[in-house]
Amino acid sequence: MSISLDEVRHIATLARLGISDERAQLAAEELSSILAHMQVLSRVDDERGAGSTGDSPIGMTLRHDAGPPIPLLRAPAFFAPEMSEGFFLVPRLATHEDPEQSP
């Protein structure tokens, strides 16, 4: 299964990786070569149902609805690239998305 340059560009966008066309071309070749080795998996059948997690009857252990919160040894202001009045600052969104909705 080979990956095309367009596909690489597409997944680079999904992953917000910003790679140059040259790099993308190289990636297409590398990934195609790696994926070629994966063909052996196509012989595996899906009998037991994909994603089956071997459901244990115990499942995850839950925690109580109580604090105290995990302390931060330093407040966000110490490690934030840009902060003002307690808010993390980022460039203004370029699209017409409504701020309260997810993209």
């Binding site: 597409h10 999904l14 917000r16 994603g51 997690t53 459901d55 244990s56 009857p57 115990i58 499942g59 995850m60 839950l62 925690r63 109580h64 609805d65 109580a66 604090g67 105290p68 919160p69 995990i70 302390p71 931060l72 966000p76 003002s84 009045e85 307690g86 808010f87 993390f88 600052l89 980022v90 460039p91 203004r92 969104l93 699209t95 017409h96 998305e97 409504d98 701020p99 309260e100 909705q101 997810s102 993209p103």
Partner: protein
């Protein structure tokens, strides 16, 4: 293609076109759960903290942090799912929904995907006006976490991110596309809100953001069985906005279809000011969320005992309560609706009715005087200084003829102000009804003398003048005469 048609005047769509098509709507509702701490960390969920103070390594998405699920989230989600008649899955799986946005600290949201907590439920709501009850099927109820908040107008040229809300627990309730009109959508939402309030799983307040609604709407020729292309509506900030937006979008789609064009799948935002929908993005963006099972969380197992426990401890639900009020208290449908609109009001009513055993009178009083007093003070019933026992006592005085209806209202007004008891107020204000026949006779004689024409006409047979004469007596007594007794005495005097 213009999207600026309004519901009132959809360009190109005549009523005939609208009538030829059927609206098909599915609703996705996100509800914030009432827990003390967040879904996956122990940060507080309280409102109004300074930005980025209710945060920790987990909800900040710091490298090395891990999620741990809050048990109360599971209980509240179960409560909602069971009340919605869903099938509860003993094993459900969390999944990552991957996308980039500044208010999403990890670059993915922990949600549930193909193995949610609950599926296949339903909600029945009374139809609008005289329309019959409608049942909408619930596709699924699942648990997920909220994102933070972004603010775009606080600083020039940048967006400001506050992650206090990131990680607050949500349940998402998805309906099947069973809704056929804007009004039906409104009825569904009101019934859902009422149910969730009764369950105390959420504040379900759209203004505060603890209840959010997205709508999927499509149009198809009446009688068709396949679904048309749907569009997604967002930025719906009230139930009426939902209804208006649905009508507007349906009209827009009908206009397109009637003109032989196709509806393209897209996300639209409701612009309440313009009364129209507009595209969400200037360019299309692919949504490939690349869901996969969340490796940091083992499967969620809820055993039968837990499900049974939640089911048994469900409070009485609105529909059941309404039926009970109609049967036990012989209340009509309208009264039962008003009194079951919220649980605390119903609780109050029942307590009064237990003490003063005339449910109709109690119902009228609670729906009338009590609610008016609450509205005037802009408070909820839990803050009302007049206790149910006190209302019952007041109504007892009226029933016993000690207070007239009018006097009772005045007494109640004072009770609401001071929290004093009725008898005390009535005595002090001199509002106790006068039923002493001698005093009443005196006033009656005076009125007959002063209003000879009316008295004569009544005596001759114009029965409806009795009320007028009683009114004159009431005025003479400054409202303190017992009108029923006056009525009786007048009738006797003038020859009933």
């Amino acid at each position: 293609m213009s999207v600026r048609e309004t519901a009132e005047s959809p360009r190109g769509a005549d009523p005939g076109a609208l009538g030829a098509f059927e609206m098909v709507v599915g609703l996705e509702v996100h509800v914030q759960l009432l827990t003390r701490t967040k879904a996956f960390c122990r940060c507080a969920t309280d409102f109004g903290a300074p930005p980025n103070t209710n945060v920790c390594p987990v909800c900040l998405g710091l490298p090395g942090a891990l999620p741990v699920l809050n048990e109360h989230v599971v209980d509240l989600a179960l409560r909602a799912a069971i009340a919605l008649d869903c099938e509860i899955h003993p094993v459900s799986i969390f999944a990552r929904k991957n996308y980039f946005y500044p208010d999403l600290p990890k670059g993915y949201q922990i949600s549930q995907y193909d193995r949610p907590l609950a599926t296949a439920g339903r909600l029945t709501s009374d139809g609008p006006a005289d329309a019959p009850a409608a049942t909408v099927r619930i596709t699924r109820v699942h648990i997920e976490e909220d994102a933070g908040k972004s603010v775009h107008d606080r600083f020039a040229g940048v967006s400001a991110i506050d992650l206090n809300r990131a990680g607050v627990p949500l349940i998402e309730i998805v309906s099947e596309p069973d809704i056929r009109s804007a009004a039906a959508a409104g009825a569904y939402l009101r019934a859902l809100k009422q149910l969730l309030e009764y369950l105390e799983v959420s504040d379900v307040n759209m203004e505060e953001g603890s209840l959010r609604v997205d709508a999927n709407v499509s149009a198809r020729p009446v009688g068709a069985s396949t679904l048309g292309t749907k569009t997604e509506l967002k930025n719906l900030n009230s139930f009426s906005a939902v209804e208006r937006a649905l009508d507007a979008e349906f009209a827009r789609q009908c206009a397109l279809l009637a003109a032989g064009e196709r509806v393209s799948q897209q996300t639209l935002l409701w612009d309440a000011n313009a009364g129209a929908v507009r595209p969400a993005r200037s360019k299309e963006e692919s949504h490939d969320y690349r869901y996969f099972p969340e490796p940091d969380l083992p499967p969620l197992v809820v055993d039968r005992a837990r499900i049974k426990g939640v089911r048994e401890h469900l409070p009485e639900l609105p529909a059941a309560r309404k039926t009970r009020y109609r049967e036990a208290f012989a209340l009509g449908s309208y009264d039962a609706d008003v009194l079951t609109a919220d649980r605390p009001l119903g609780n109050y009513f029942e307590e009064v009715a237990r003490a003063h055993r005339d449910p109709k009178t109690v119902a009228n009083w609670v729906m009338g005087e009590v609610r008016a007093a609450l509205n005037a003070r802009r408070i909820e019933i839990d803050r009302f200084p007049v206790r149910p026992a006190d209302v019952a006592e007041l109504l007892d005085l009226v029933a016993g003829g000690v207070l007239s209806g009018t006097a009772a209202k005045r007494v109640f007004a004072i009770m609401a102000e001071t929290g004093e008891r009725a008898a005390q107020i009535a005595a002090r204000e001199g509002l106790v009804q006068i039923r002493d026949d001698e005093a009443l006779h005196q006033w009656i004689e005076q009125v007959i003398a002063e209003h000879e024409p009316e008295a004569t006409r009544y005596a001759r047979g114009e029965r409806k003048l009795l009320g007028v004469l009683v009114g004159f007596v009431m005025k003479k007594s400054q409202g303190r005469a017992d009108p029923r007794r006056v009525n009786q005495l007048l009738a006797e005097r003038l020859g009933a």
